[in-house]
């Protein structure tokens, strides 16, 4: 127990300075945003794009005089894609770094773990990427919001497209955690409702998230000869998957192929021409799909600064910072409870149009963007999206009763 002594001395020191400093963090201190993203491993690129989106928004706002005269500041933590790490990070951000608001989350598994803890932390959380329907469904609570679309919304849209293709026998390849399994579950439910004669095959493939070798899964699906395949593999995994699928001739088969998060620009720029033409790709936000002033300004500022078009993760993070700006200004306070109440039902002009957090479940009613991979955009080094369809958020969202959310 000897070691604890200097440690405790240090703690006391920190405590004393902390207490003495307390009245000082009044009005000229920055407002702190705590962000939690994946910054290491195969999906680390998503965290990088989110950080860029946040930084762009913060710099714009601070240049413009900040929020209620105070600057914004971000502190970012790595979730490593693990719920336990993210929960510890959230506690550190709130109690140690004095973050006023939280945002982020890239993984459904992480979201399912962290969201139930939010009422203890008493700070609002805007989820900008993680898509499990549960956190704006049966796990919903007063502090948790989501600005990006969720699996239920995206799969409803996917089922509409799948129904139009006329393919009858469907299977899936998805990561072996909440996201992959829930994507298949919600896709199947929506597809079956609209087209009772489709067959949902029992031959499905769920490789481990972060698996390097997808060959056995690709071969397995080709051997089963489905008419359509729903692929919810994402991140670095998706890059590996597409390269291996190319080698195995997966895309030359007579199948409809739908990538549920395939139009993430992180993935498209890594793949370039290796992403085949003519497959269905979805994204939460396509930078070229919105003809409004906010989007024009955002996309050109983003490309100027970082040299690449913004991904949906960058857009979600950027929009969340502006959502907090608006909420803090209308609440006139950074108090966690007040902000959480203000966000409910609040709408704002985001790059993907005017969006609102529905009061009943705190889910933003945003529609997914689906398109077919088209010719290369040589300037940006990525595939374009042809036949782009921006779904109406209201039409693809579950009703409050269906979500099972009770606030």
């Amino acid at each position: 127990m000897q070691l604890l002594k200097p440690a405790r001395l240090l703690m006391t020191l920190v405590a004393v300075t902390g207490l003495a400093g307390a009245p000082a963090w009044a009005d000229d201190d920055p407002i702190r945003i705590g962000a939690i993203y994946i910054l290491s491993g195969s999906a680390a690129n998503y965290g990088k794009f989110a950080q860029q989106g946040i930084q762009l928004a913060i710099d714009e706002i601070n240049q413009d005089g900040g929020v209620m005269g105070r600057d914004l500041e971000v502190i970012t933590e790595d979730s490593q894609g693990k719920a336990s790490v993210a929960i510890q990070a959230a506690r550190k951000l709130v109690y140690q770094d004095q973050a006023d608001v939280l945002m982020g989350l890239d993984s459904s598994g992480v979201a399912q773990g962290l969201v139930p803890v939010m009422p203890e932390l008493k700070k609002p959380l805007i989820i900008t990427h993680a898509a499990t329907p549960d956190v704006t469904g049966k796990l919903c609570n007063a502090y948790t919001y989501r600005i990006s679309n969720n699996v239920a919304q995206n799969m409803k849209a996917a089922a509409i497209i799948a129904g139009e293709t006329g393919a009858k026998r469907w299977t899936t390849i998805g990561p072996d955690y909440a996201f992959g399994h829930q994507s298949w579950e919600f896709f199947g439910k929506a597809l079956k409702e609209a087209n009772p004669d489709v067959e949902l095959m029992s031959d499905t493939a769920f490789p481990r998230f972060g698996a390097e070798d997808f060959t056995p899964f690709i071969n397995g699906v080709m051997a089963a000869k489905p008419d359509g395949v729903l692929i919810s593999v994402w991140g670095g995994d998706l890059v590996n998957f597409v390269r291996q699928a190319n080698n195995l001739g997966f895309f030359e088969q007579d199948m409809e192929i739908m990538f549920t998060v395939g139009a993430a620009t992180e993935v498209l720029s890594a793949l370039g021409e290796q992403m085949p033409e003519g497959v269905w790709l979805s994204t939460r936000y396509w930078y070229d799909g919105f003809d409004n002033d906010v989007n024009k300004r955002f996309v050109s500022a983003y490309i100027d600064r970082y040299g690449v078009p913004p991904s949906y993760n960058a857009e979600g993070a950027y929009a969340a910072v502006y959502a907090y700006k608006k909420a803090i200004e209308s609440a006139g306070s950074t108090d966690g409870d007040k902000l959480a109440q203000t966000l409910s039902g609040m709408s704002l002009d985001a790059p993907n149009g005017t969006i609102a957090f529905r009061a009943g479940d705190h889910q933003a009613l945003v529609g997914p963007n689906w398109g077919k991979s088209g010719p290369m955009n040589e300037k940006h080094g990525i595939r374009t999206l042809a036949d782009l369809r921006i779904f109406d958020g209201e039409k693809v969202s579950r009703t409050i009763e269906e979500t099972g959310c009770q606030l």
Binding site: M1, Q2, L3, L4, K5, A7, R8, M11, T12, V14, A15, G18, L39, S40, D78, K82, A83, S84, I87, Q88, R91, K92, Y95, Q96, S108, G109, Q112, G113, V115, P116, V117, E120, L139, D176, Y177, A178, H181, R208, F209
Partner: protein, 314 residues
């Protein structure tokens, strides 16, 4: 004289721990809660390693099973917390009894490999049995109800939970300490030093090793049970061999020769992790350097080296 000073230092440390929520920054309640739980985990490992001389690489299996037991009972059955903990201890002990039955007959590297293999089997089950363990997402979203025994405690309050953990860890540590000092504990230490000789004395070495292994599993199960409400999730990573490595590292950092060594190691490990990760992401690199230095120059660990030096000083 030195005994008195040691006892006094221990008492001061204990008072400091009890009073912690009133003087330390709020965040350190979480840090010290984690230190205490991981310290108990490491101490349970040290009963197997430091006392009995069996290097197990599968100790996380018992810790993780304890964590799952509490998390799943809280989620599905909503039992009072105390009963969940009893279940965790039982689950840890039972699993250790089964794995130990096959493992303790082997020695050295064969024992280490066998425990590693069993540990990874348990990990695989948790990772793949999605309908029961929820696969790689783990068990989350459970709520804390009553403590049990009619005590009115708000377990969701981190300061309250810290004190609950402190009481459990201190009592468990005291029991572990007494086990180590008992004639049973003496036999375990004799087995570490010379198993043949113990066997020639007419004692069944294998049963003693199995008993030590099972006891270690029971206390690891308790540590796991305490971890579930703290982390708010029971995930397969807690059963992974890399989690099994943590008590090994903690025991070596603190020193395996003294009872409190693993607790000191746990404090070093978690404080270093917290401080270094706030500066750089490459904390494992620094841990590697610290560990290499410790093994080269302070083989008895931080507490061990200090106490050896201090107790021998005239």
């Amino acid at each position: 004289m030195k005994q008195t000073i040691l006892l006094g230092a221990l008492l001061v440390a204990l008072i400091g721990l009890v009073a912690l929520p009133w003087f330390a920054p709020y965040f350190y309640i979480f840090i010290v809660t984690e230190i205490l739980i991981m310290g108990l985990f490491a101490a349970s490992f040290n009963l197997v390693f430091g006392y009995t001389g069996m290097l197990s690489f599968g100790h996380a299996a018992f810790f993780g099973v304890g964590c799952y037991a509490t998390a799943m009972t809280l989620l599905h059955l909503k039992w009072p917390f105390l009963y969940c903990l009893v279940l965790s201890v039982g689950a840890g002990a039972l699993l250790a009894l089964v794995i130990g039955f096959f493992s303790v007959r082997l020695n050295e590297v064969y024992f280490a490999m066998l425990t590693l293999a069993f540990g990874m089997m348990v990990f695989s089950v948790a990772h793949h049995w999605r309908s029961v363990t929820n696969g790689s997402d783990g068990i989350a979203g459970f709520t804390l109800g009553d403590f049990g025994l009619g005590l009115d405690l708000t377990l969701g309050n981190p300061a309250v939970y810290y004190h609950v953990v402190l009481v459990f860890v201190v009592v468990a540590a005291a029991v572990l300490y007494l086990i180590g000092r008992s004639s049973f504990g003496m036999i375990l230490q004799a087995i570490r030093q010379n198993p043949e000789r113990v066997a020639f004395c007419g004692l069944n070495v294998r049963s003693y090793r199995l008993a030590a292994f099972t006891l270690g599993g029971a206390f690891a199960g308790l540590a796991g049970g305490l971890m579930a409400p703290f982390l708010r999730v029971a995930s397969p990573e807690m059963l992974h061999w890399s989690t099994s490595a943590e008590p090994v590292l903690m025991s070596i950092l603190g020193g395996t020769g003294y009872f409190l060594g693993p607790f000191v190691g746990s404090a070093m490990f978690i404080l270093l992790e917290t401080w270094i990760t706030s500066i750089t992401q490459a904390w494992m690199l620094f841990l590697g350097i610290v560990l290499a230095l410790m093994v080269m120059f302070f083989r008895r660990g931080l507490l061990g080296t200090f106490l050896d030096w201090w107790l021998e000083r005239k």
